[in-house]
């Protein structure tokens, strides 16, 4: 990938386009873009995955958070060309209406969103966090989401949602005897026009 995503030093020009190939929500996706294309715009404009939201575009609000090889990062602070060859999970990859990820179900149950602008960032951040710390205290849950801004909810219900998501995960494990869909195993999902069903291996339903 590095050779494709590279222009020769002497001849390098700023209009060059680079072949960016990613695995997005389990599906190989690619496009030819200028080096300055932000990953957030690559996902939204080039791949039409508009679940990832762009608020501040300088790393402060967290709305654009996606998972890069499983770890949450700001997609507005990454060039698409830098992460060519890697795996990205967006909010679309967490789950859909019929097989919601525990954090999605929890945000719905606990009214963890109002306008929903910030929500994709909270969902991806919380999903990754709960993989590492499945049983957080309220303080830990608050700390986990401290890098994300929400102008509507006042955060109380978001903290409650994170705690509820942990409980849902435990319930699903107790009921189904195995893990729920997790960010470490991204499912086939993405563009509706790819007909990607959102039920994947390890789905807890």
């Amino acid at each position: 990938m590095s050779t494709e995503a590279r222009s020769t030093p002497g001849t390098a020009d700023s209009d060059a386009r680079h072949d960016v190939q990613l695995t997005v929500n389990g599906v190989p996706r690619g496009a030819c873009v200028p080096a300055r294309r932000l990953l957030s715009d690559f996902l939204r404009h080039d791949l039409r995955l508009t679940g990832t939201h762009v608020g501040c575009e300088h790393g402060v609000c967290g709305a654009c958070t996606v998972l890069l090889d499983g770890a949450p990062v700001r997609s507005c602070l990454l060039l698409a060309v830098t992460v060519s060859g890697h795996e990205v999970t967006t909010v679309e990859g967490l789950g859909g209406p019929d097989d919601m990820h525990p954090v999605q179900q929890a945000f719905q149950e606990c009214h963890g969103l109002q306008c929903g602008f910030c929500t994709p960032g909270f969902l991806t951040t919380a999903a990754a966090y709960l993989e590492e710390n499945p049983d957080p205290t309220e303080d830990e849950a608050r700390e986990a989401i401290s890098g994300n801004l929400c102008r509507c909810t006042g955060y109380q219900n978001i903290v409650a949602s994170v705690l509820r998501a942990a409980a849902i995960t435990r319930d699903r494990q107790a009921t189904f005897g195995h893990d729920t869909p997790g960010v470490s195993r991204p499912k086939v999902a993405g563009r509706p026009d790819e007909g990607g069903t959102t039920a994947g291996a390890g789905a807890g339903a």
Partner: protein
Amino acid sequence: MKPSPFAYTAPSSLDEALAVLAEVGDDAKVLAGGQSLLPILSMRLAAPAHLVDINRISELAYVRVEDGGVRVGALARHVDVERSTEAHTVLPLLRQALQLVAHPVIRNRGTTVGSLAHADPSGEMTAVLALTGGSVEVVSSTGTRTVPAAEFFLGPLESAVAGGELAVSAHFPSFPERTGTAFVEVARRHGDYAMCGVAAAVTLDADGAVVSARAGYISVGPTPVLLDLTAAVSGASVTAADWAAAGELAQSQTEPEADIHATADYRRHLVGVLTARALAEAAGRAA
């Protein structure tokens, strides 16, 4: 806003990177984690003609215990350093400081060497490099130089890394036996840049008396400020030491400036309070 156009090269080895930098040097910016550079590009505060992306140089992604301290490669993310058990064992100050650097999501991508090269005087790791007496290894196609902390930070957002050069690693020496460390700061919101922050190291003798009390400060000067405060607490036990006096000594030796985040007076107040707090905490860990 979006970054303005630039030519882009992503070398996969150090040699290749140095060759590219030698060629495009002065018009180029190195892209590490991008957690400081991307906001700068998107806000159009800078418009380099060329970006040299070091994210594919995996030989630079390491955290090693080496030469009586910790050596951090240019591609080690903050999170790699923070989570390294070996690094924490020989130099707990690294983790103590890194937990205050931005938010975990930023630390997943930002690099520790990048934050030194960026030379933001509010960056926690600048004070850690200063307090440990560390150094940065800077390489170009013509050679390697080891720049000590005292010569590395030249001014706000200005480090000793010149065009055509790459900072390949930083070395943070560990402290002598019976030394405790702490990092405390006050920021408007958790994860923000601090209005004042203090890295402290206190060393005791075999009888538990203070033999050294030093502190490194962020956000109180154009570069990290390093102070030896031993005079205020020398020979005292951890419980009897007058940490507040050390705080006053620090206040008399710093000249913080006002900006939109805090007035100079408030910063001076923080220097006193946080010095006492950091030294007491560090001393508690030394005992």
